[in-house]
Symmetry: C2
Subunit: 358 residues, 2 copies
DNA sequence: ACGGTTAGTCGAAACGCTTCGACAACCCCT
DNA sequence: AGGGGTTGTCGAAGCGTTTCGACTAACCGT
């Protein structure tokens, strides 16, 4: 493994000159630069990351901290990662993904104090997230994907849930739906203050009220069974529902299954919109789901770019940016089954059309 | 940020003594050790990772290299990651996930030559995988999850596809199924030599032949549409099929959708087994899928443990280990619809029972 | 013709740790 | 009593960079 000394010797210059060629911190004549670059090429020189990090006190590593639960990473999260990795790599940084859960704060603290990370991007931020404080105490610059409750002085990028929900509701209302049920994450998740769950809830209430409609909301466990239960509850509470808006990517398959069991055809009897869903998942269903596609890769890129800007400029540029999901219409939404004669809502299950199936 | 010097001064010992307390490379008296530990606690000392890495020429970082395509990480891959991370963390190593695709070999080479990784675990190994050579040239010890074509001198852990397929086939045959179709990954993937696709194909042929049955195999694109097309092709080729064995986690939802469209009930008319599938995904379907659950977290743990053993002992312990998937019976398999009167296979579509729907 | 910049280069001192050689002190055999 | 091990500690020499201060030479305006 060639070192800088070897390069310097071969190029007949001093070590510091080689360093200046590499870092560009001081002017170097073209002739010298060429000699040095030639020597580096000949020796297949690669700077030693540890030595560089020690001397410069900057590792050129940024961490992407994502809690990994057993559910796995959806395509949405993966898009974050690839977007972030691309941005980091383009800037000459390494992006390391660290599966630190919200639980192992000590692990995180250790990681941070070891000066191995120049900065960090946090995924899956909770409204009360100990990781934020831990990193701030350790002096690690950070950018969130998502938001904590109090965002003052914090840099973040997040999905614009408000606009996303509004757009989804408008799509359904535009198709004539008046009785729309929102299937959120579980009650526990909402109570825990999980940002997307809380914010979409509020946004749904606002959007429905804006249309003069009553917001019906049902929580659901993150599973197919949870989805089935939620749909049952939804039909209890609003037997005349014609559309379901679901935040819960796991529950949605249960919802679809239960609809099929009850002989309700999608989208003929009930329209379904899936929120913050990747095209890949949307296509798994039959018919493919109309969904609000999350701007995953853009979010990842923006987060890393904001972080690097703050690292290089040292500026406390409080970057706060929201991106809405894009409405992608597929086969699961259609016109409301019948003109909403009485918006008050009937108390009997209306006659449904057609045979079961799909 | 306290350094070792500070600790040494406070404890009234030399710097090297502090180091020995930390690394245990030389005996230290209990009294001294206590003094040093007390000083470390008081100063909230954390060793500087860069300095340690530079001096010891070992970063205590192992990389988990996983190509991240847009499909995202399934629960199976996520289990690899969590298993690996847990094992690394238990041994005092950091696991960094690097989303290096098979494409950016130069990126990988750079990463490797920068001496930032003590070793690497490769996921999603191709039969011809340039990353293996790149890492070997850079002198980075590695362990594969999956296998290349030629595994001599390579350490790996992998799924025992042979046994997994055999067990799945036995389950179906035990239920009376004789006409079983295997839906593999796409033809292109198989042609590219993707290990799981190739190995399951061979294993399926062997298992079916072992039972005196004809192996019918259909490739499918990794999407719901691919699954639908595959089922259509399967019914063309084997109209009397009573069971589908699917390797393709994405296609399986298309298969189920198409079965429903055709009015074939699962498991009444057709049994479905999903291979190398996580419980989470299996539960998404209605009915939940009987599946061969991959030993993801165990594989990840074993891979890291093998890697660390090789790092610490320096031993060229050619760790090669296979783990089968576990059969988990859920609702998608049942007895074959009718006794296989003539195993030769009919040439007309037999009458199917019952109404459509789940 | 002369001080004042600026461009280009060098040597040496960090950076915070590990590790090697040395050495004192002690213990155990014979 | 003297040699051979251990045990426990220290000082110093790296590890491969970056970065600071210093120096030379060329160039500027006056």
């Amino acid at each position: 493994m060639a070192t800088m000394h070897d390069v310097a010797r071969l190029a007949r210059v001093s070590v510091s000159t080689v360093s200046y060629v590499l870092t560009g911190t001081r002017p170097i004549s073209q002739a010298t630069r060429d000699k040095v670059l030639a020597a580096m090429a000949e020796l297949d020189y690669q700077p030693n990351a540890m030595a560089r990090g020690l001397a410069s006190r900057r590792s050129r590593i940024v961490g992407l901290l994502m809690p990994m639960d057993e559910r796995g990473l959806g395509a949405t999260e993966t898009a974050f990662v690839t977007g972030a990795a691309a941005a980091a790599s383009a800037a000459g940084y390494h992006l390391v993904l660290s599966p630190v859960g919200v639980g192992d704060l000590d692990d995180l603290r250790r990681l941070a104090s070891q000066r191995m990370l120049d900065g960090a991007v946090l995924m899956e931020v909770q409204v009360e997230d100990g990781r934020v404080a831990a990193l701030q105490e350790a002096g690690v610059p950070l950018v969130l994907i998502g938001r904590t409750g109090d965002t003052t002085g914090l840099a973040y990028v997040d999905i614009d849930f408000e606009q996303t929900v509004r757009q989804a509701v408008e799509h359904l209302v535009g198709l004539g739906h008046r009785r729309i049920v929102y299937v959120n994450h579980s009650a526990a998740t909402i109570a825990a203050g999980y940002g997307p769950a809380v914010r979409t809830r509020d946004a749904f209430v606002a959007a429905m009220s804006g249309h003069g409609l009553e917001p019906v909301m049902i929580p659901a466990e993150d599973s197919a069974a949870g989805g089935r239960a939620a749909l049952t509850a939804a039909l209890d509470q609003a037997p005349d529902l014609t559309a379901v808006l679901a935040m819960n990517e796991n529950a949605i398959f249960g919802i679809l299954g239960e609809l099929a069991v009850r002989g309700l055809a999608v989208p003929h009897d009930v329209s379904v919109v899936s929120m913050v869903t990747s095209p890949q998942v949307a296509e798994l269903a039959t018919p493919a789901l109309t969904a609000m596609t999350s701007p995953g890769s853009a979010l990842g890129r923006m987060a890393v770019e904001a972080l690097l800007r703050r690292l290089e400029d040292g500026g406390d540029d409080d970057h706060q940016r929201l991106l809405p999901c894009a409405l992608e219409i597929r086969g699961s939404t259609g016109p409301a089954p019948r003109p909403t004669a009485a918006a008050g809502g009937g108390d009997t299950v209306p006659t449904r059309s057609g045979p079961p199936g799909t």
